[in-house]
Amino acid sequence: MEHYLLLFISAALVSNVVLMRFLGLCSFMGVTTRVDTALGMGAATTFCITVSAMIDWGVEKALLEPYDLGYLRTVTFILVIAAAVQFTEAVVRKVSPTMFQMLGIYLPLITTNCAVLGVNLLLVEGKMNFIESTVFAFASSLGYSLVMVLFAGLRERLALCNVPRLFAGPPIGFITASLLALAFMGFSGMSTN
């Protein structure tokens, strides 16, 4: 259990997918103008990353690795991610149409989110077993959601500040993101993966 906990902390905080690996930056800048959109996007992404990581682990072990088809990995993983997003959309609609109205708008954006593909490729690189890869994917996506919500909160406060015109909008957003990344560097040394 301790191993899973260390893996969790390492993936979520120490090697944060956005601030340390620089993945998913377009949604990080684009969907963080409000906390509620960041939260909805983060939750949907967490679900899709975890489900697609499970499927991709199976595809890697059953198809790509035994038949030496590594050159098809990126294409295959993109296909799996798109299928996982469609599956998630269908499931949320089935579970609750009302929730689909609230949360379904973020799902199409996930297909083109490089954080999803990036995490799946990192799993292969890490040569993890099934449960390690699932925990890693879940923790990475929780780290992504955490950063999205934190950054959205900061941007909501920034919107009320008197920012010099030259820095208004994305420039001050990037400066804030870099400070947030520096803050997250404080976690390095807690655990290594």
Partner: protein
Amino acid sequence: MDAPGSTFPDSGTHGLIEGFARVVAVDGGRAWLEPEETTSCGTCHSAGLCSIGKDGGNAKRLAAKRFPLPGDLDLRVGERVVVGISEGTLLRGAATAYGLPLVTLLAGGILGQEVYRTDSMAAAGAVAGLVLGLGLARLVANHLSARGVLSPRFLRKAYAAPSDAACHPEHG
């Protein structure tokens, strides 16, 4: 609170997440609304003007998101209105739809791994956990819907954006 008909968010409804919707049908006393497509720019208040707000959305996808507003609100087809849900509702919805299945997925996977020590049993445990979680999520969602917790509520009417207004994504 803004005057009725304001296009801008209501500062008096703190803790509410607001969205724009258009009345597409009125059936007896009940109005059916279609939410305006929200985008990665966070939707601005001139959404009715730009290509994203007007025609960029997938009509079929929007039709699937139609929802009724109970009560006689004196709404007419084509009117834009502001609807809202509380932040707690969004959190609860996300926790139910995504959080619950993920927790059971992980629990099933870890259980399979710890008991049988094989990847195939861990995968089977995770899939079983996911199915169980989705079933539980459906039950919880039905319970919340029956109590009316998830329903968006009418806040006010919104004027259509003026034709000479500019798009301001930064207001999203």
